[in-house]
Structure formats: C-alpha cells, structure tokens
Amino acid sequence: MKQLSVARLRQMASSLDLDLNAEELAGMRPMVQDLLEVGRRLRRDYAPRIYRRTRRSE
C-alpha cells in the first residue's frame, strides 16, 4: 500500500470536517496508515464467499 502522506491525511480529515493541526496529523499518520492496511487486508481475505476465488492461507 502506498505510504499515506500527511497532505493526504489532511485532505481526508478535511473531507470529514475534522480540523486537525499539524502535530495531530503527524501523530496520527502512521497509526491511520496501519489501520487502513489492516482494513484493506481484512476486506480482501474475508470477502463474502461468493466473491472468493482462492482459499486464503495464513
């Protein structure tokens, strides 16, 4: 997954009407990146069975 930049996070926050300062954005960036990666992986590996083409392995 492409690294989440502070600028991109600011843009995402703005779209949610969250007015975060630079310190907050910098503090959250790595944590939000981790969470987005977890979410993406879980969506892929636990997609509803009808869409699953291959058996997932851990």
């Binding site: 996070l9 995402m12 926050a13 949610l16 009407d17 969250l18 975060l20 907050e24 503090g27 959250m28 944590m31 939000v32 981790d34 969470l35 987005l36 977890v38 979410g39 993406r40 879980l42 969506r43 590996d45 636990y46 997609a47 509803p48 851990e58």
Partner: protein, 454 residues
C-alpha cells in the same frame, strides 16, 4: 503488622464468612481498607475517588457480597459518585444512575468503596499529564501497570479492595490482572449487561478482577444471578485442553512468558488433564479486527465531544479516539465478518476440546506493551486476548508465574460461549495446584524515590 492491617489480605469469600460469624464487621473492614488506601495510594495512584464510609448495617443478608467493599473502574457509571473516565471531558460528572453491572453488585449488598484509575476513556496511552497519572505496578513500582483497567488490578493486588469491576474490549481486564498477579475474567459477550460504561459495545464486557477464582465466581453470581461459585465444587468437569500452538509461536512472546506457559500446561497434565495441540486459522486477524472495531466505535461514541471539546482530551487519547474516523463502513463490516468466521472456527475446536489455553500477553511490562513493535492501536500486545473479544468467548486470566524481575505472568483459559462454569472450575483446579495466588506484593512505600517517565 497489626491484626487490623492483615485485613487487607482477606478475600471476598473470607470477609463475608467473618461478617457472618461475627468476628468482623463490614464497618471495621471498610475503615481498615480506607486507612490503607490513604497510606499507600499516593504512591500506587490506583484510586481516583474514594467514597465516604457507608452505612453497612446488615439488616437482612443479601448474599456473599453483603457488606463487601469493592472498587469500580472509573469509566463505569456510579449513581451519586463522580465518574471521570480519567478525562477532563468528564472531570465533574456525577451520574444519576448506576451502570447495570454496578446496580447488580449493589443489589447483592456490595459497597462501592472507590472509583479506580484507567487509561483515559479506556483507550489511549497513559501519561503523567493525564487528569490522574497512571497507576504503578505494585510488584515493580518503576513500571506502570498494564491497562486499561490498571487501577482495578493495582488496587486488588495491593489489598486496597478485595475485588473490582473493570471493562475489557481487547484485554483490558485480563492484561492488567496478569501483570499484577490477580484474576481477571472477561465473560461471554452479552452474559452481563455492559451498558453504562464508556466502551465499544460490540466487543466490550464488564468483568471482575479478584485475588481468587472463588471470588471471581462470587462476583459473577451477583452480576448474573446464576450460581457459578457453587459449581466450583461439582466433581465432573472438563479435562481436555487445546493449545493453539501455531498462533502462540507466531507471537514471539518474551522467553519467560513462554516458559511460564509450558509450566502451566505441565501442571494441568499433572492434574490428569489431556493437553492437545489445536490449530485455529485467523486468530491474529481476529485480534486486528477487534481493534479495528474498537477504533471505529470509539470515534462513534466520542465524535460529538471530539468536535466540540477536543482540547479536553489528553494528547494520546485524542488521537486514538479520532483515528477510527478514517476507516470505512466496508472496513468495519469486514472486521465484523472476521468475527463471524473465526467464532465458528473456535466453536468447532471447542466441540473437540473443553477449553483453550494461551499466555495472556506476550510481553512482561506495560512499557513493552506500548512499544512501537507492539502497535497498541492495532492490537499487537493483545494478540492472545483480543481474538476472544471479537468472537465473544469467555476468557480468564489466572496468576501463572513470576518473572526473574519479580513481575507476575498470567495464564489464559478460554471457554465455550456461556461456559463460565466449566472455565471457572478448571481455573480453580489450576489455582489450587499452584502457589501464585498466595503471593502478594510488598507495600509500596516509595514516596519520591521512584520517578516515572512521561
């Protein structure tokens, strides 16, 4: 040590028996504990609010908790008693109603002695700048206690109260219990009404923290109305223990934790139990999914306050509560789906074995649990506890060893849904065969000799 001072070592069951045989009054017991709190807690920092002496005349006996003083995590609402959740957001809030769990233990005759310290809103990394700075581990005061029910575990371990109620959304009862050498139970999802708490409702349970399994059963009796303590005495019980070895080894626990776990399994074998290896795919995914849900539900619960009073949150808590805003509905649904899938897998394995056994936490100290490697926001240090919040199975942390540094190590057993009676029975067998529950930390008389990092 004066006879009065020894009262702090009484368990719930022992204190109740002494009330009934007339050798101790609840008033004297409460007074002794309040004196102890005033003497030790300035160093331990486990108590946020100490309530006044209660009228504890026993008019008609309500059960084993009658007249027993207990502590309540300060994110659980208590009628007429300040409930801060260790946040400036709620610094002066006095709820009008008890949370159902508090109402249940009060109805059973328990007295709310103290509201106990925690990570702000049970979600975030504690700091010295918090409304109430983080509790110290009584076994090793240079370390903080694991959280988020840190004050509850510290108070029980230190003999400030014989039992407490905490909340557990990823391990927040079991981890501090393990870290402080006491018992922590996360009941089956929905067994106890966990509303009236600041917590993620899909994955969080109110649970007791005690010094013995018998006391955990007594509190569960009061919380549910079912006779769990009686069931400890029944003869026919589970004997087949499943060990999810692949999941445990992937966590790369501290070596001392691994050794303590193997020793605990050996005790079970010596008790005549059959210990077998099992494989449950997706437990690590379940830990991450649990924390994804926690992040989303934390933001949902706090969104309005974050938008209007963000500066009133501590720095870490503010960021932890906001990051869930960036996750999508699809992420949240996927995390719930992980729960459905892994719950079925755990149920399937628990149709072949009676309980599962794992360590509680892969590291020895709160500081290690909060390290970058542990990635607390995605559940890294909760790799053994959080999966069972997501699946909803009951799980208990039992004292299971002691590190060379003198920090307790816990042992976790996981049972079938609504299988608390079997779980407590097995935990009781283990407890009675080991010395760990008889060990208590020395009183922490550190004044200013220990400084804490910020």
């Amino acid at each position: 040590m004066s006879p009065r001072e020894e009262l702090h070592l009484l368990t719930v069951a022992e204190a109740g028996r002494r009330f009934r045989d007339g050798s101790l009054t609840s008033s004297d017991y409460v007074s002794a504990l309040m004196e102890r709190i005033r003497r030790l807690d300035p160093q331990l920092r486990s108590v946020i609010t100490l309530t006044g002496p209660a009228d504890v005349e026993i008019v008609s006996w309500r059960g084993p908790l009658h007249g027993i003083p207990i502590g309540i995590k300060d994110s659980i609402a208590t009628a007429g008693i300040r409930t801060t959740a260790n946040s400036h957001v709620l610094a002066g809030w006095v709820p009008a109603e008890d949370a159902p769990a508090v109402a249940a233990v009060r109805a059973a005759g328990a007295i709310v002695l103290a509201k106990l310290n925690l990570n702000e809103f049970a979600w975030g990394i504690p700091s010295e700048d918090d409304l109430f700075p983080p509790p110290r581990n009584p076994w090793s005061p240079e370390h903080r206690a694991m959280g988020s029910s840190s004050g509850s575990a510290v108070a029980v371990a230190s003999g400030l109260c014989p039992a407490a109620l905490g909340t557990d959304a990823g391990g927040s009862v079991r981890q501090p219990a393990a870290n402080c050498g006491v018992v922590g139970l996360k009941p089956t999802h929905g067994l106890i009404d966990s509303s009236g708490t600041f917590a993620a409702p899909t994955i969080c349970e109110v649970g007791p923290i005690t010094r013995t399994i018998e006391d955990a059963a007594l509190l569960l009796d009061a919380l549910t109305g079912a006779p769990y303590a009686e069931s400890l005495l029944r003869p026919t019980r589970p004997t087949r223990i499943g060990v999810p070895r692949r999941h445990i080894e992937a966590a790369e626990s501290d070596r001392q934790i691994g050794t303590a776990f193997e020793d605990a399994l050996q005790v079970l074998r010596q008790l005549g139990m059959d210990v077998v290896e099992v494989d449950i795919d997706g437990l690590a995914d379940a830990a991450e999914a649990d924390f994804l849900i926690l992040n989303v539900e934390a933001f949902s619960l706090h969104e309005h306050t974050l938008r209007t009073r963000r500066a009133d949150y501590g720095q870490s808590s503010r960021l932890y509560h906001m990051q869930g805003a960036f996750l999508s509905a699809a992420d949240y649904v996927a995390a719930l789906r992980v729960g459905d899938v892994v719950r079925k897998r755990v149920d399937d394995v628990l149709s072949m074995v009676d309980v599962l056994a794992t360590p509680v936490v892969p590291v020895l100290t709160a500081e290690a649990a909060r390290s970058a490697k542990a990635q607390p926001h995605t559940g890294g240090a909760a790799i053994f506890t959080a999966p069972f919040n997501l699946t909803g199975h009951p799980a208990i942390s039992i004292p299971g060893g002691m590190s060379t540094e003198g920090i307790p190590i816990g042992f976790q057993l996981i049972g079938r849904a609504r299988g608390e009676a079997d779980l407590l029975w097995l935990a009781h067998q283990y407890e009675q065969a080991t010395p760990w529950h008889t060990m208590h930390p020395a009183d922490v008389e550190i004044a200013s000799s220990h400084s804490m990092g910020g």
